[in-house]
Structures are given as C-alpha cells and as structure tokens.
C-alpha cells in the first residue's frame, strides 16, 4: 500500500520512518522544508532515541509530485491543515485520510477536501534535531476511528492501524475514536496554555494549588462539552495531569505552547481551548474559562 505523510515534522516523521521499514508499504512525505526533504531523500529519514530507525521515504516539497495513495496521515500543526490538505487532496481521491494532529476540528477541515476521513489521536512525541533526523522522545499509543460525518470504511481504518502496529507504532482501530481524542484535547487545553501564559513548567503549574484548581476548572468545562456530545472519555484527564507532574515524567516539560510563545510562533490554541469553546457554544454548554484562556493566548499572538 502507498501512504503519504502530510507534514513531516516530529510526529509525522515517527509515522513515516517506522512505516517505511515495512516491505509492503511505500511511504511518501510531503513537507515544506526543502532542507528536511533533501536530507530525507539523500540519507533516509532517521529516528534516534526511543527507537533507532532509518526509513526509506520519498519526500517532496511539491504536492503535485505525490502518487495516488491508499492513505494519508496528516501531521501538520493544526493551523496549517487547510493549506496542506488543499494542496494534497488529489493524491487521496481514492484513498482515506487520517489526522494525528492536536486539537479538535481537524477532521472537519479534512472532510471539506477528501471523501473518507479517519479521526485519530496519537501520543508519541519527539523533535527534529537536524534535517532528516528526529529524536523520538516518547513512545505511546495511537487510536484511529472513522470520522462520523465522512467516514472511512472501518476495514480501511483497521488496515492502517495494522500497518502502524506492525511498524512499531501501536495503534488501535475503534468505532468511536472521540473518547481518546477529547481526553487528549482536554488534557492539553487544561495545561498547555497555563504554561504558555505564566512561563512555568508543567510540574510548577501543578504545584501551585491555585493554578492546579484552574486546570481543574478547564477540565470540568471540557468534560461537560464532551458529555453533551455523548462522548465517553477513555481516561480521566485529571489523572493524566497529576501523572505528568511527577518528577520522572514531565515535571520539567515546557509545554509546546510555551515554546511556541517564546519563539513567537502561532500556537494551536484555536484548536484546543478555542475548539472546546466553539463546541460549547454550539451545544449550549458554558465554557467561560476556556473562552478567557483562548482570548488571552490570541492576545499574546497579537502582541507580536
């Protein structure tokens, strides 16, 4: 089968390199970084850290160069989804497209451009250390399921999950993938912006009882929005927050949104707190704290 990873940053690279180790999968990568693409084509896509892998991946900065694919895996930052899928949709005319991005609302964007969409949530993480080289920091599971409004056939979801699992990226195909997604979104929306707005690491955010209680307010509002859609979370975000605050887990972790703010890059807040607030408005569930946090982070972005 032919798979194209759209947006070959850290997470996209983990999928691309691992899938490329399979005999029966041909992997393409579409990315805007010419340096990264050249290095991948020259030396292969190399993973270090949690796994040592070199994948033979055909990379391109030109979406027109993608062949017809069975699957797309979209892994761009959430604000780039629209541009990325608009450019690559032709390659998936007969295929299915999965998102493994942060936040909510990505599936809806994909569905405007392609017929068969897979809702996905992934926990592995890493960072690009040099063109063509990605440090794999955290292993973790991925969950895939048909996107309700424009579903991919479940057999196809299973086929992609099976390939990912065989490639060393444990992936489950489920009928309703909303639970893991909302669990991750609520966790991220309750912690990421608190780090971004205060400059504190995850552990220090959790050590302040007043901020930890603020995170709980965000979790509660998020849970109410999930519940209003009939979504059953697969785990309690509160437990994840406390687990991540442990010294040996992610105490010193500077949230990706904090890193974005420090580098003056646009954040994913529209798809985290903004996404929860937007669903809340549609469903008539009040989310004043998410609205506050969303407006503040947008204000930070506007200050540059």
């Amino acid at each position: 089968m032919v798979v194209a990873v759209v947006g070959c940053g850290a997470v996209g690279s983990l999928f691309a390199a691992n899938l490329a180790t399979l005999e029966d999968v041909e992997v393409w990568a579409y990315d805007l970084s010419a340096e990264h693409v050249e290095a991948i084509n020259r030396d292969g896509l190399r993973l270090t850290g949690a796994g040592e892998v070199v994948g033979r991946v055909s990379a391109t900065t030109d979406a027109g160069g993608l062949p017809p694919c069975d699957f797309g895996i979209v892994a761009t930052k959430a604000m780039h989804t629209e541009a990325a899928i608009a450019a690559t949709a032709h390659a998936f005319a007969a295929g299915c497209v999965a998102t493994v991005q942060n936040g909510i609302g990505n599936e809806e964007v994909l569905a405007r451009h392609v017929e068969r969409v897979i809702r996905g949530t992934t926990f592995p993480a890493g960072k690009i250390t040099a063109p063509g080289v990605v440090q794999w920091d955290v292993k973790g599971d991925t969950t895939l399921g048909p996107f309700e409004e424009r579903p991919a056939p479940f057999a196809e979801v299973e086929r992609l999950a099976d390939a990912c699992t065989r490639a060393g990226m444990p992936t489950k195909a489920v009928r309703d993938a909303r639970g893991p997604q909302w669990r991750k979104v609520i966790f991220n929306a309750a912690t990421n912006p608190l780090g971004a707005l205060t400059g504190l690491t995850h552990g220090r955010v959790c050590e302040r009882p007043d901020l930890r209680a603020l995170a709980s307010r965000l979790v509660d509002e998020g849970k109410a929005v999930a519940a209003a859609q009939g979504i059953e979370l697969d785990a309690d975000p509160e437990e994840l927050i406390d687990y991540a605050a442990r010294k040996e887990v992610a105490y010193d972790h500077r949230a990706s949104m904090l890193q974005d703010v420090e580098a003056r890059r646009q954040t994913e807040v529209d798809f985290l707190n903004g996404g929860i607030a937007e669903f809340g408005r549609r469903l008539g569930v009040p989310t004043p704290t998410h609205e506050t946090i969303h407006a503040l982070v947008k204000g930070v972005e506007a200050s540059w």
């Binding site: 205060t198 901020l211 209680a213 603020l214 408005r281 969303h294 407006a295 503040l296 506007a302 200050s303």
Partner: protein
C-alpha cells in the same frame, strides 16, 4: 507657603513633586540615597506636556525633611506598607493623601499612624526617563475625596493646591464611585495587558469575533460591576466606556502591570485584582474570571523568582 512631602518619587510622585514645587515648599522622601542626592543636586525636570526644572529637598530619612502639612503617598502599592512604616511616629499633624491604584491603600497607611487621610485616584500618566527626568504624557485629572478624619473641605483644599501647580485635580464628596470605576478598569486592563503583552490598544475593545479580546474585557468588567453593586457603590464612569475611549486615543498606553511583568518586577496584583476579589468574596459575589486573572499573574511573577 504650604509644605508638601511626596513619599515615593516614581512617575506619579515625580509629576506631583515637580509641579507642586512651583507653588509650595516640596520635599521628596525616596527609597534610594542616590535618588535623593540626584534630586538635591539636579532638581527634577519635567518634559512632555510641560517643560521646566523644579528645585526640591530630598532624603531617604524623614528626620532630614521639614515637617509637611500634606504628604502625598505616591509610591507603588507594593512598597506602600514599607513607606508607611518608615513614617510611623512622624508628622502627626500632617494629612496623608494616598494615590495608589486599587482600593485599600488608606487602610494600609492607617495601620502605621493616626494621620488624617485623603483618598485620591489619579488618571495622569508619564514616563520616567531617569531619577531626575519625568515626561508628562496624559494630563488627565486626579480626583480627591475625604477618607479617615477628613471632610470635603480638606479634599477641596488639596485639589485647589494641586490645580494651582498646573496639574488637573478635582474634589469629590464621595470618592468611591470614581475609585471603583478605576479599580474595575485597572483590574481588567492591567491584567489583560500583563498576560498578553499587549499595550492598551484597540484589541481591548474588539468584539467582532468570539475570541476577540473585547469580550473578555467586557466580561471582567461585568464581574467587577456586580461587586460594586453588591458593595452599594454607584459607579462614576462606566469602565467599558473608559476602555473604549482610551483605546481610541491613538497612542497606546503601556499599563504599569505590563511594564512590571516585562521588567520582571512584582506587580500590584494584590492591591488591584486581589482587592476586588477579596471584596467579592466578602460580599458573596462570584468572580471566577478575576480569580483566573489573579492566579495567572501571580504564577507569572513566580516564573522569574
């Protein structure tokens, strides 16, 4: 000539001291000895809306200053307790006027002596260039009202003296409507600016998209208004209208809390948002958004400590 001591010669204190030195015998009580020395040697220069250099006495020690009739306590709220403590036992006949942001400054001063007190809120602003040079930016008024042991007549005399020095001042029978309007305005504008890094600009009045900042500003002000109503205070100016007007002025103002955050200094969060939240709790009015802002600003202070 009236004798006035200005305690705390930051922007606001310097503007008072320099202007008043033209109509009164002015001394400045400073925290740093070099600051006092520089003021004694070079005087205090005002630029911007005025252009002059005033001569004045200055010291870090009240013992070296002449006994004043009026003390303008103009230090930052974060230094207020220390400044009032330094004046404990001094100048029992003097009237003390507090001009700090927020509410509760008079109560802090009252813990250190039985002086008659006036309450003031000031809307003027400036930029400090160095120890002896302050730029006068916004020539808006200072409002003065009676507090402990004073009456309207005392407020009127202080306002008259300040107005005669070239600054704008007005006396009120009851300052609370103005104080609360400014408290709600400040608790909102200062914290939003401190957390976003935005100066007080048109973003604060934008209401077009659901995530525009104006919605948050409005929601924070509505919470504040509910607290004022529960406290039985009828607001003077509407804080939202103050906000819209201020953002239309063209040149964006940098609220002091934003400057504090950028300089990694402690902010006045306790006297501003903290005071509002404490009042709200006392009165049983829910203020979840102000609580959120207070926690975020305090946590931000922790990030550089």
């Amino acid at each position: 000539m009236t004798r006035v001591c200005v305690a705390g010669a930051g922007v606001i204190g310097s503007l008072f001291a320099a202007h008043l030195a033209r109509v009164a015998e002015v001394s400045a009580l400073t925290r740093r000895a070099e600051h006092a020395q520089a003021l004694r040697e070079h005087g205090l220069t005002v630029s911007g809306r005025a252009d002059f250099t005033a001569r004045l006495q200055a010291s870090t020690d009240p013992a070296e200053l002449p006994e004043p009739e009026l003390v303008i306590v103009a230090c930052k709220g974060t230094d207020l307790d220390a400044v009032a403590a330094r004046l404990e036992g001094w100048w029992p006949a003097a009237t003390f006027m507090t001009v700090q942001n927020g509410i509760g400054a008079g109560e802090v001063v009252a813990r250190h002596g039985g002086w008659p007190l006036l309450a003031a809120v000031t809307f003027m602003s400036g930029t400090r260039h160095d120890d002896t040079h302050v730029q006068y930016v916004l020539d808006t008024a200072t409002w003065i009202g009676p507090a402990r042991g004073t009456g309207y007549e005392d407020a009127r005399r202080a306002a008259e003296l300040i107005a005669s020095s070239g600054l704008k001042a007005e006396a009120f029978e009851d300052l609370r409507p103005a104080q609360w309007s400014k408290l709600i305005f400040n608790a909102t504008v200062n914290t939003v600016a401190a957390l976003t890094g935005l100066p007080h600009d048109p973003h604060f009045a934008a209401l077009e998209r659901p995530d525009d900042l104006g919605h948050l500003v409005k929601a924070l002000m509505d919470e504040g208004k509910a607290v004022a109503a529960a406290a039985g205070v009828e607001l003077g100016e509407d804080p939202w209208e103050m906000n819209v007007l201020a953002t239309k002025r063209g040149s964006a103002h940098f609220p002091s809390m934003l400057e504090d955050v950028e300089a990694h200094r402690r902010t006045e969060i306790d006297l501003i948002t903290g005071a509002l939240v404490r009042e709200a709790h006392r009165l049983g009015v829910p203020v979840p958004l102000h609580e959120t802002m207070e926690r975020l600003v305090k946590a931000k202070e922790e990030s550089w400590s």
